[in-house]
Amino acid sequence: MSRIYYGAKFEVVSALKSQNPNTNIVLVQDSIQQLKSYSRFIDADKIFLHDNPDNDCIKAIQNQLEKNLGNHYLFFDDDNFDGRLSLIQKIKKVNNIYDFSYPVFGDSNLLRRKISNYIQNQDYQLHNSCFDWIIKYCPTFKIKSKATKKEKICYDLDLLFRELDKIGSINLTILPEHLEDSIFSTEEDIFIFLSYLFEKQSAPAFMIFDNLISNLGEQALLLIALSQMLFLLSVSNCKEKNIYDSEKIVKHTELRDLLGKYLGDDWKDTKYTVKAQNPIRIKIELGKQTPSTKSISKMIQYTIDSIVSTRTNKDISLTMDMWLNKMLTV
């Protein structure tokens, strides 16, 4: 009888391999072609796992099963398969549906259990101290439900297990230090990039510049940089006026000394909302070296020019390259 598996493909294949150690598991992408080339002499002892077959493929698989030609299992990314099809109904009746769903982001207990179950069947061990690292840094991905069109973030077990297998092939016991080289995230921190700009470290700034643009986009990068520079301008201004009391600086950066000071054009009090600043952020910035207000002002000017240029000029990459060079030479 056929079976349905859904969830993490890599985990399903591993489970099938451990259940059937002497059987070849064939992951089938093109079911129709595979069924055409089926050989009762060579394929009889294989398990064919059909990857997300459509309704036509499922009907063809059913025909093959009725002729008793091979072991054919169905694999789906999630549990939204078409329950109206005769083969799926038959499988449901005998309860041959196996859930290998990806753990939802935040469900660390399920992630821990899945990892433990997987490691049990491997030749290597995973030290207990690794779990905290994995839970913190486990790769994630978004799954979009075909039925509800809702997205959910899940732990990417396929990628994680492949990485563990790779490390396990050279280390019998995996320790946290072995995992530290596995960087699953390719996102760069914009604030680290801005600190490189202010410290004039051109080499690291150039290295992460392209990644930042691909993650954020040109305009978002410039706007975030502008916002950070406006904040730094007010902190730097306070430093130049020898104001080191963080409360005073908070007031200064929140523009409390200016907001509501003057009447509006209609000679009435103006309405305003204070943009609250985090005092811890200010304290951190006070401990650092801040560029002078003059150079920050120049940087702000360059950034504004570049924002204008990205919205009007067609050659955005040239604008961005020029912006980076100007920022590093202020």
Partner: protein, 373 residues
């Protein structure tokens, strides 16, 4: 830089390069040398042709060239087409470096092709041909390798089929090649089936390319390093990537068809007569399956289809054989007959789990054809 080439002497080199480019799998984008680039490479007062399709690479000696010039690349397809169709045998070449152009022709006809500077050619060569490394090369038994590829490449599965059936598994034992392939409906085995040597995999396209460059007049040496087979002859080098993986158990299970099957009967048939008969009946009936029925010294070959009708033909055998009935694919029989050199072929019929399989043997070659329903 100027040189002369005779088309009749060099056309086969360009055709080989063109074939290599056509079997490419992907291209290196944004690089000076792409998978469809043909590089004119100058080294040690010699002019070479270089091309790579990311799986296989070739460096062919073209002619002596005392004048130094910048290595340049151009589009292979365009060049081979222009050179191949050139109206005269002798063609003069001139590379105009300032204008990035290769001009070739004679007084009457002239072709000018745009070129690009092949900047990373030196790195490519040292990476792909392992020129810097000290490798031990062995003498290649050209005929043996040619036969190994010839007797196995025809029974590989098409590209879209399941791996590893799309490739040939081979091993080398005492400088002799053993090879196996199967498309799951027939099995070809060349040489020793039980070799305990490391196995390598080569795709059908690579195998055909390799057998295409083997020439009985040249002396070849070979070396396998980092899953690449490097073949050298004269001043030429050919490299193709191999795969070494866990799939050997899949092909090693083929021996069960020899050991677990029961011999039923055998018949010696005239190859030409059988080929003509099969082609005739399948042509008339329009079916890709034919039926064999034996009775005494008679072998009836028939074929039928619902829309065109049925055809039958009889072949008289020299010796009596046991009565049985079995069906096979027409193309499988025709193809194996084309490969075999003997005029009279012995067809052995064996019983495997209630099915009649046909085994054909010739010296180091064993071939199994599975029946159709």
């Amino acid at each position: 830089m100027k040189f002369k080439l005779k088309k009749c002497e060099h056309l086969n080199k360009f055709q080989l390069v063109s074939r290599l480019c056509k079997t490419g799998v992907s291209s290196h984008e944004n690089k000076s040398i792409n998978s469809d680039s043909l590089v004119f490479y100058h080294n040690d007062e010699k002019l070479y042709l270089y091309t790579s399709n990311t799986v296989s690479s070739i460096l062919i000696f073209l002619c002596d060239m005392p004048i130094e010039f910048k290595n340049f690349a151009l589009e292979t397809k365009l060049f081979t087409q222009a050179f191949g169709n050139f109206p005269t045998d002798e063609v003069q070449f001139a590379f105009v470096e300032e204008e990035n152009q290769l001009v070739f022709g004679n007084k009457k006809t002239r072709v000018a092709l745009k070129t690009s500077f092949a900047s990373d050619i030196e790195d490519r060569l040292s990476n792909e041909f392992c020129i810097d490394k000290k490798l031990e090369f062995s003498k290649l038994d050209t005929k043996d390798l040619y036969n190994a590829l010839k007797f196995t490449s025809f029974s590989c599965a098409p590209d879209f089929d399941e791996y590893p059936y799309t490739s040939i598994m081979f091993s080398i034992e005492d400088c002799k090649f053993n090879a196996q392939s199967s498309d799951k409906h027939r099995i070809s085995i060349y040489g020793n089936q039980d070799s305990d040597q490391s196995n390598y995999w080569i795709s059908k396209h690579q195998a055909e390319l390799l057998s295409g460059l083997l020439n009985k007049d040249s002396e070849y040496t070979y070396c396998i390093s980092k899953n690449k087979i490097i073949i050298k002859w004269d001043d030429n080098i050919f490299v193709t990537s191999l795969e070494s993986n866990e799939y050997q158990s899949v092909f090693n299970s083929f021996k069960k068809f020899f050991t677990d099957s029961q011999f039923i009967s055998s018949a010696i048939i005239d190859k030409n007569e059988m080929t003509k008969t099969i082609k005739f009946i399948s042509g008339i009936s329009g079916s890709h399956i034919f039926h064999i029925k034996t009775d005494g010294t008679e072998m009836t070959i028939s074929s039928s289809s619902n829309d065109k009708g049925a055809v039958a033909d009889k072949i008289t055998l020299d010796e009596e054989i046991i009565s049985f009935e079995v069906s096979f694919l027409v193309s499988h029989f025709i193809k194996v007959f084309e490969i075999l050199s003997q005029d009279h072929i012995k067809l052995s019929f064996h019983d495997y789990n209630g099915y009649t399989i046909c085994i054909v043997q010739e010296q180091s070659f064993n071939h199994i054809m599975f029946p159709m329903e």
